[in-house]
Symmetry: C2
Subunit: 211 residues, 2 copies
């Protein structure tokens, strides 16, 4: 009965299958819009079988969310105080954009949750997330103080990185519709964001400019 520690091989396989299907459906339809029947359909299992492995729809959703935040914050954690400031920031943008490209469903699941006011993540956001962001903002502020990055508000700087990278996952449909079928949004976003944050963050003195 212990669902958090799969014991048998079948349990491990089916729980993974269910979580995968649930991610697919929840990210596309939102919590309320998703139904157990759809998830069961995608998973190739019967609805009662889903509820054999998870106690409720809510529980499946909760499991997805808790697994999510860590993955989502890893790139920020990797910001290295010992590194070269501009390079570190651009690498962070790069990693965040890679996440948006490789895990768009996770991004949309997260976006759905925040949009609804984060009823099931509030604690994590006000706790772990805020602490980590505050710490990294202090680091960034230090870099700016030392003249190694152009000055701006570190918190809003981080928001801007989140907004710009996640936009390509969350608003994928709009981006593709506007760009047309011939262009690859995620491929173009890399150089664009590199340029943007280079201009935003490069210290004032030197005369470098990326084309």
């Amino acid at each position: 009965m212990n669902h958090s520690r799969p014991r048998t091989r079948i349990q491990a396989r089916n729980q993974d299958t269910i979580l995968g299907a649930a991610l697919e459906v929840f990210s596309a339809q939102g919590f309320r819009g998703a139904t157990l029947d759809q998830i069961a359909e995608v998973a190739g299992l019967s609805k009662p079988n889903l509820l054999y492995y998870f106690p409720s729809k809510e529980a499946i959703h909760a499991r997805l969310l808790t697994g999510l935040l860590d993955t989502w914050l890893d790139p920020l954690r990797a910001l290295d105080p010992a590194g070269e400031p501009l390079g570190e920031m651009l690498a962070y943008v790069r990693r965040k954009l890679d996440l948006a490209r490789d895990y768009p469903r996770e991004s949309r699941l997260f976006a759905n949750e925040i949009l609804q006011g984060a009823p099931r993540m509030r604690a994590a956001i006000e706790g772990d997330l805020k602490r980590l962001v505050d710490a990294k903002c202090a680091l960034i502020a230090g870099w700016m103080e030392a003249g190694r990055l152009a000055r701006s508000d570190p918190h809003h700087l981080i928001f801007s990185i989140w907004a710009l990278t996640q936009h390509y996952a969350d608003f994928d449909m709009q981006v593709r519709a506007v760009l047309g079928p011939a262009r690859d949004p995620l491929a173009e976003a890399g150089p664009f964001l590199d340029t943007l944050f280079r201009r935003m963050l490069a210290p004032q003195a030197p005369g470098r400019s990326g084309s």
Copy 2:
């Protein structure tokens, strides 16, 4: 029976009331998550009365969406070919941010719709929106060609403006949680975005730099 052209005073009042309540509920819960009972509750009307003024839940939602796109695109339309390029772009950012501040529910309604793949707006996005964006991108490209704006991809530039401004409405909960209760996200966003786009867009040659 003609609901699109309210004739009596009562019709006008109640339709407005319903649309206001529906905006409140749809933007907070998404289409599937919202119920007619909730909307009726907020509107202070009975559920059957809602359906006296609108033929279905779908119809209420559709009406909100069609009214939305125009408002949402007005700031972009106002981009003036005869104006000073950098000033025009910064004014556009400002207007878009004002929209996010004054109409966060509309922004979230829109975000919800796009997140789900825009099942009810696809046509408008691939039509009107794409055309307008393409036209304005040509204008911006011209400015860049003339050396009056720093070079970058105009489409992605517009995406970045959308992403950065709407982020403050759509992810409001997260932004506030991270900044803490003492700070005003929308007030700080103005100067921040002004700085960001100034650095991003200011032409290379001249020696002006905003503080």
